[in-house]
Amino acid sequence: MKFSIKIGDKEYPIEILEKNGEVKIKVGEKEFIFEENKEVFLARTKLEKKEFKERKILAPIGGVINEVFVKEGDFIKEGQKLFLLSAMKMENEILSDFDGKIKKIFVKKGEVVKKDQLLLLGE
């Protein structure tokens, strides 16, 4: 048996076949085979809830923040330059270790920071 159904604006061709106790239903290119008393997975009806993990960037050493390269609300990529921290007579570029969005920046240019101080919160 062939027919079509419309869901919203989309039309789906349907074909129903029965053979040897099996019912095969074709929806477009997809096939579903049904046998008596057996469950068949058809489709997910809602998205899994995505858990956004909070990410922190901490000062790896104490020093002075000489540059802040990003701002709150920015979308950042792993490896992107976030801060320039002058410490121990060296210039240290602090790079992001995650892809995500910056929720909050806790430091500004010229600020002295301690080791493990929270610099940035992202998700």
Partner: protein, 174 residues
Amino acid sequence: MRILKFKKLDSTQKKAKEIVQKMKPWTIILAEEQISGYGRKGNFWYSPRGGLYFSVILPKAKIEDLQIMTILSAFCVAKILKEDFQLEPFIKLPNDIYVRGKKICGILTENLIFGKEIRASIIGIGLNTNIEKFPENLKEKSTSLKIELKSEINNNKVLERIVKEMKNIFEKIA
């Protein structure tokens, strides 16, 4: 040691940071001239043709060892200026070398930190070798080997000497 030579670069440090993930330790990025050479806090380093400008990709090390390496690199250069050229260098810690009260060399260490891990460390050295003249704003504060010795310097030999000394020291401390 592997040396990547360029006629002209923005800066050897900038180039080194771009390619560091693909390079082995002790790779050297060398430029005959830099357009935007820089020292600490982004201060401009005058880099005309004739001078010696290079960056060294260091092996992985703890941050405390990298700090010592910065200071000892200045010591390496000062030692060579004294032993090979009979000059009297003065090291203004952590990064500058002076001769007769004028700056002759600057050293900068940059670390790329990913999370808590040092992904890469690069030491940049700018040594005024064959620079005959400095612009008006620098001439009272800067000097070169050519000005001090009134003779031409072989940049390749000096480069090799400096990096060999740095390698010796690094192997002892890290």
